[in-house]
Each structure stands twice: as structure tokens, then as C-alpha cells.
């Protein structure tokens, strides 16, 4: 015996109306026979049987509306089979939910908020069985920051599957892209309006297709600069000891094939120093100050499609060689476009290094919801006064961008001072 579910017949379909039953209870059905005509938001479509047998129950009457995934009928091997209560816990849960009349609920939701998927189950929590969902769907919903109980499932018994979460995430992205930022909305419209196409195009411009990643960069960095009161702390460190230390370490590590970069040393030093400065490892979110127990350092990586920030989780607990190995793996994944949402989530502090481009120093934009980002410039020889003499020394310019809502100037300065001292006595990185 197997149940027939309301199918998803179009991408935008959330529910369907049983327009008419072509097969009646007791009829023999074969694979490919039209069972029922279903009216969607777009059209009336025929729905075929996927297996042989007899239609023994029409669970939903003609003219009734049910959400995708709801049971609409039952096919059995024998015409006399009596549809029992569905087997197993899943079925029982569905049964328990049925008195809640999912159909009208879905309809109301649709009328109020046409772009939000109707809840898979009544929204009330507490003792109510949770709506069915696949482990993959639950993980993706977590990663996208979506409430899975608000997503309409299209799988068997209304199970939320990956396709449903992806659709909801896409919808969310579109909504966010469509909804103007509050600040932007206040700006005078004419100034914000892009040049109209009918204007003479003096710049010979062409519109480049915008990728999702570019859209996300644009949105998040706009948000960062509009919402976060940045201040900047600059400090140049003497990098002679760091150079020597790196050479020594790489000599030691040579047989393992691991090579530690200056950036790895800086990332590890940042993680180590953050342990003593938990106030910098924090976030200002919705008028709340969150202090993070884990130290997850993001590493800004430029890839063909834009900027990504893969995260080295628990960087403070990793050996230096492990920091080097993992960051190289993350950078490679980033270049291959294979970073998972997990690889990019949970950062508590970021490091951005443009030294390889010869940039002396720069001011980085904070990666929300983090409270600070360290901009690292190129290592270069500078004339430095030491013991009253001018000598040539390798130095690196550091600039810390700080969210003043979460961290005050003196606190940020103390962090940067400790960081500089650790980098100038680099043995402390590994101690």
C-alpha cells in the first residue's frame, strides 16, 4: 500500500486543488495512467500513477486545497485493501497534524504574505511534533539561517528536502535584494537613481552580470560601513625576528612538506593574543554585546568571483603547522569555488593581507558581525632609528579596524600592542 502525495508541479507552487479525480475508488491503475487532475497556481495538470495497483482511497475530495506533500490518496495491491493508519512515527505525526487543517492555514499565509512559503505545520511550538525534514535540509536551513518550521515541504508526508530549503533561501535572497536598505531609502531618490538607459551613454558602459557572491559582498560591506562606527589603529612592527623565525620553522618543517607563511604566523599570533583580549573577540548585534568563547579567524581571500572569507575555526588551539596546512587548504578550496557555507561561517575576527600586492598599509572594512579586522601590509625594508642610529630593518604595517560599539579605543590599542610584541618576539606565537 502506498500513499499518493500532492506533487510539486511548478517551481512556485505551494499548494494544489484537486480539480477532479479521473480514477475512482476501486479502479485498477497502471503506471502512466492519469489519476487525478490538479489545479496549481499556473494551470490544471494531469498527475499520473507511478505504480500499479488499485486506488483504494481518495483522501482529498474534489475542490479541496492541500499543501504540497499532503496525502491525497492511497494505492494498494488489492481493491479490497483497507487503508490503515500510516505506519511508523512519521505517519503518526502527520496524522496528529491533520486536524489542524493545513490547507486553510496555507491559504491564509499565502494571502497575507505572497512571497513567504506557508508553514509546513502550525506555527505553535511546545509539545507539537516537529514537521518532517531531511537531515540535509536541516543542516542547510541552519547554514542559511532559515527556520525550517517555516519552510513548506514537498517530499513524502510533507518532508522538507534540500530543494525546498534552496528555494526558500533563494526567495530570501531575492527579498533582501528587493528590499531597500533603510538608509538608502531615506536618501533622496534622484541621487540614488542609476543613470537612465535613455540618457546618452558617454561612458560606453555595459552591464556585467552580477553573481550572487558579488551581490552579497555589496550588501554586507554597505551594511558594515553604514552601521558600524569604524575607528582605525595603526602600528608598524619590526619584522626581522619574524623573518628569521619563519625561516627556522620552515627548515624544521621541510620534511613534512608544510610551509608556514608570514600570514600564517600573523593569524596564529592574532588567535593567541585574542585569548588574552576576549573583549576584542566579540560582536555587537541588535543592541547586545556577545563575547565569543571560540576564536575563529577569518582569512580574506580574493578569488575570481570576488572576496571570500574562509574561517579557521579554533585557531588558538591549532599548532602553527596545522594553521598553515588548514589555511592553505581553505585558500585552495576558495580558489576552486568549493568552500562550504560552514567553511565561511562563525568567524570572530578577520585578517586581510594585501602585502603580496606591495600595498604598504590600508584600512579594511569590518566583516560583520565581527568587531575587528586586521589589515596587513607588505613586509619591506625601512630606515628605522635604533639606538640612535638609522638602520635598515624589515617592517610590516598593521592597521586594526575596530567596531566602536563593541570595543573602545584603549582596548583595541592594548590588543594591537600585545599583538605587535608577540610578532616582534615570535617565539611567543608558539608558546
Amino acid at each position: 500500500m502506498s500513499e499518493i502525495y500532492m506533487p510539486r508541479l511548478s517551481d512556485t507552487m505551494e499548494e494544489g486543488v484537486i480539480s477532479s479525480w479521473v480514477k475512482q475508488v476501486g479502479d485498477k491503475v497502471s503506471v502512466g495512467d492519469v489519476l487525478v487532475e490538479i489545479e496549481t497556481d499556473k494551470a490544471v495538470m494531469e498527475y499520473e500513477a507511478y505504480e500499479d495497483g488499485y486506488l483504494v482511497q481518495q483522501t482529498v475530495r474534489e475542490g479541496e486545497t492541500v499543501p504540497i506533500g499532503a496525502v491525497i490518496g492511497v494505492i494498494a495491491d488489492s481493491p479490497d485493501a483497507v487503508p490503515a493508519a500510516p505506519e511508523g512515527g512519521e505517519g503518526a505525526e502527520q496524522k496528529a497534524e491533520e486536524p489542524q487543517q493545513p490547507a486553510p492555514a496555507a491559504q491564509e499565509a499565502k494571502e497575507e504574505q505572497p512571497t513567504v512559503p506557508a508553514p509546513a505545520a502550525p506555527a505553535e511550538q511546545g509539545g507539537k511534533p516537529r514537521p518532517l525534514s531531511s537531515p540535509l535540509a536541516r543542516r542547510l536551513a541552519r547554514e542559511y539561517g532559515l527556520d525550517i518550521t517555516k519552510i513548506q515541504g514537498s517530499g513524502p508526508k510533507g518532508r522538507v528536502v534540500r530543494a525546498d530549503v534552496e528555494a526558500a533561501a533563494q526567495q530570501k535572497r531575492e527579498q533582501e535584494a528587493a528590499a531597500p536598505q533603510p538608509a538608502a531609502a531615506k536618501a533622496p531618490a534622484p541621487a540614488a537613481a542609476p543613470p537612465q538607459p535613455e540618457f546618452e551613454d558617454l561612458r560606453a558602459s555595459e552591464e556585467v552580470p552580477v553573481t550572487n557572491i558579488r551581490r552579497v559582498i555589496a550588501r554586507r560591506l554597505t551594511q558594515a560601513k553604514q552601521e558600524i562606527p569604524h575607528f582605525y589603529l595603526r602600528r608598524r612592527i619590526d619584522a626581522e625576528a619574524l623573518r628569521e623565525f619563519r625561516a627556522q620553522i620552515n627548515e624544521q618543517l621541510a620534511p613534512t612538506g608544510v610551509k608556514v607563511s608570514v600570514n600564517d604566523l600573523i593569524v596564529k599570533a592574532v588567535a593567541t593574543v585574542l585569548r588574552d583580549h576576549p573583549e576584542v573577540n566579540s560582536s555587537w548585534v541588535d543592541d547586545k554585546l556577545l563575547r565569543h568563547k571560540r576564536i575563529n579567524v577569518g582569512i580574506a581571500v580574493a578569488v575570481d568571483t570576488g572576496l571570500v572569507v574562509p574561517v579557521l575555526h579554533d585557531a588558538d588551539t591549532l599548532a602553527l603547522s596545522e594553521v598553515a596546512r588548514r589555511s592553505r587548504a581553505l585558500v585552495e578550496k576558495a580558489r576552486d569555488g568549493k568552500l562550504s557555507p560552514q567553511d565561511m561561517s562563525g568567524g570572530t575576527f578577520s585578517v586581510s593581507n594585501l602585502g603580496m600586492f606591495g600595498v604598504e598599509s590600508f584600512s579594511a572594512v569590518i566583516n560583520p558581525p565581527e568587531a575587528a579586522i586586521l589589515a596587513v601590509g607588505a613586509m619591506q625594508q625601512e630606515p628605522v632609528v635604533r639606538d640612535g642610529e638609522i638602520v635598515a630593518r624589515h617592517t610590516i604595517a598593521l592597521e586594526l579596524s575596530v567596531d566602536h560599539r563593541a570595543v573602545d579605543g584603549a582596548v583595541g590599542a592594548a590588543f594591537l600592542k600585545d599583538l605587535a610584541e608577540v610578532l616582534e618576539s615570535p617565539m611567543r606565537i608558539v608558546l
Partner: protein, 331 residues
């Protein structure tokens, strides 16, 4: 690369290994004068003589036991058991001796023997001659079990099995002997314990071994025409089992079907399904499904035999059902 049959690949490899190492010798019923019930050993008696190609009495426990002893003393016996059904008569020698000696005697003696034996139904040989009981051996630590599905893998894994210092059960299949495929001229030694992704795909993972791996590639090729991208994992080795390759594939596709010629309950597919949920729980979009033989002694009558065995059609049906469960409109 020459295209040869699975049978030819086995024969060529046996001959090459016997030339390479004079400690390699063959034992089994009807393998010499009669040249093998399935003609795997054709020509070998003539070429190598009675000392190295030995016809045995119909006494599986006896000749498998003799092979265990020969292996302990440094020879490399390759035993043919006419079908895996008859291996049950040698179960004590295989499970209690071959598999245990290395561990029980503190590593003083290994047992470098190979048991070649075909399984499989579909030949109207009746219930006692059509079984797939490789699971009994895959269950036993101390044994290795390989189950190649192509002529190239048959050659590479037979070579690896003969050179391996542990007892290896080398599973063949009556339905594979006449299948053809490219086999490289050079000597490839396979890696026991390594599965292969033989078709890359993105929609669903289809796991099989031996004959069902061959069926799986056929199903994948046919479904590709419908725009369904099936990733086929050929286990090749049942013990050790390459869980990593299976799990990585499911992490990519989000759902899996296991196709097996043995019975469903407690079968190889149960182990695969358990491994998938342990290794890829957060990546599963639908329950792992299994396609296996009907839970009956295999009938002799052709229509019933066909109905009981898993087939390309039954695998395809379950793939459709699984894909529909993740929101694809297929079938």
C-alpha cells in the same frame, strides 16, 4: 588496450602469476583435465603440469584445508571452489583456520592463499547453486573479500590477491564471465580495500559490487539520457570496505541506493546504509534505499527466477522513487 572477457582476464592473470612466482599453484575440482567448469583454467595443466595444477576430489573441506597448510609453509595456493555454494562445506577451514591463524599464533604464520569462487543466480541452477553468500566471509575479520565487476579489475585484484599475505576470497560471478572490457597490457596490481567511482554524477549515489556494479553502470548510462546524473560506486572490495569513497559520494549527491544480489535482510546493503548514515547523516536528503534479491530460495522456473533477482528495472524504479522523494519529477 585489448578488449577481452572477464574469463580471459582471470586466465591470463593466473598464467602470468604462475610464471612470475613458482610458489603459486592451483587446486580445485575439475580444473586440470576438464580445464575448469567455467574454463578459467583452460590450458594451464598442459602448460604447468600436474605439480602446479592439481585436480582434487570432491571434498571442499579437504582441499581448502590442504591449501591453508601449504600457504602456512610458504606456498601461494589459488584454490578454485566451483561455486560459492560449495564453499559452505569448507566454512570451518576458511573461517576457523585461514582467517584466524595469523592472529592466534601471534603473527608467526600468515596464510597467503586465494579462494576463487563464483556466486550469482540467473542461470537456472536452482536454489542451492545460485546463492550470493559472500556476506558470510565479508563478516569475518582476518579474511579479505574482493568482488571485481570488470575484466580490468578482475585482473588487477586477482594479481593483488595472489600477492597479498592474507587469505583472500575472490568473488566471481556466473553472469560476468562473458562480459568484455579493456584490460591494460601492463601489469596493474589493484588495491584491495579501495572502491571506485566508475560514473561521476550529482543527483544520486548508486552503490553496487560484482554483477550489480555492472548493472549499476548500465542504469546510470540509461538514466543519463533522461537527464538524471547517477554517481556509481563500485565497491570492488567488501572487506576491507572503503567507507570513505561511499560517504564522500553521498555527501555530494544527498541520497543513495544500494544494489545487491544477496538477500536484503542483514545483507551487504545494510552495512552500506549504516555506514552512510554514520558518515553522512547531515548530508542525507532521503532515506537510503536497498534493492536486493527476494527473500526466498531462488526458484528454478525462469519467470520466477527473473522476478526474484534484482534487475536494471528494479534499480531504476527505486532510483525514481528516491529522486521523487527529494523533489525531482522523474520517471
Amino acid at each position: 588496450m585489448p578488449v577481452i572477457t572477464y574469463r580471459q582476464a582471470l586466465r591470463d592473470t593466473l598464467r602470468a602469476e604462475m610464471h612470475r612466482d613458482e610458489n603459486v599453484f592451483l587446486m580445485g575440482e575439475e580444473i586440470g583435465v576438464f580445464e575448469g567448469s567455467y574454463k578459467i583454467t583452460e590450458g594451464l595443466l598442459k602448460e604447468f603440469g600436474e605439480r602446479r595444477v592439481r585436480d582434487t576430489p570432491i571434498a571442499e573441506e579437504g582441499f581448502v584445508g590442504a591449501a591453508v597448510g601449504a600457504a602456512m609453509l610458504g606456498l601461494r595456493p589459488v584454490v578454485e571452489i566451483m561455486t560459492i555454494n560449495f564453499s559452505l562445506l569448507a566454512l570451518d577451514q576458511i573461517v576457523n583456520h585461514a582467517a584466524k591463524i595469523y592472529g592466534m599464533f601471534g603473527g608467526q604464520n600468515s596464510v597467503p592463499m586465494v579462494i576463487r569462487t563464483p556466486g550469482g543466480g540467473g542461470q537456472q541452477l536452482g536454489a542451492t547453486h545460485s546463492q550470493n553468500v559472500e556476506l558470510y566471509y565479508a563478516f569475518v575479520p582476518g579474511l579479505k573479500v574482493v568482488a571485481p565487476s570488470t575484466p580490468a579489475d578482475a585482473a588487477a585484484l586477482l594479481r593483488a590477491a595472489i600477492r597479498d599475505d592474507d587469505p583472500v576470497l575472490f568473488l566471481e560471478n556466473l553472469g560476468l564471465y562473458n562480459t568484455k572490457g579493456e584490460v591494460p597490457d601492463e601489469e596493474v596490481v589493484g588495491e584491495i580495500g579501495r572502491a571506485a567511482v566508475v560514473r561521476e554524477g550529482t543527483d544520486i549515489t548508486l552503490v553496487g559490487y560484482s554483477r550489480m556494479a555492472m548493472i549499476a553502470t548500465q542504469v546510470a548510462d540509461r538514466l543519463a539520457e533522461e537527464g538524471i546524473s547517477v554517481e556509481v560506486v563500485d565497491l570492488r572490495s567488501l572487506r576491507p570496505l572503503d567507507r570513505e569513497t561511499i560517504v564522500n559520494s553521498v555527501k555530494k549527491t544527498g541520497c543513495a541506493v544500494v544494489a545487491e544480489d544477496d538477500w536484503l535482510t542483514y545483507g551487504i546493503g545494510a552495512e552500506i546504509a549504516a555506514s552512510i548514515q554514520e558518515g553522512a547523516f547531515d548530508y542525507l536528503d532521503a532515506p537510503v534505499r536497498r534493492v536486493a534479491m527476494a527473500e526466498v530460495p531462488l526458484p528454478y522456473a525462469k519467470p520466477l527466477e527473473n522476478a526474484a533477482l534484482p534487475s536494471a528495472e528494479s534499480v531504476t524504479t527505486v532510483i525514481y522513487e528516491t529522486l521523487r522523494a527529494v523533489g525531482r519529477r522523474v520517471g
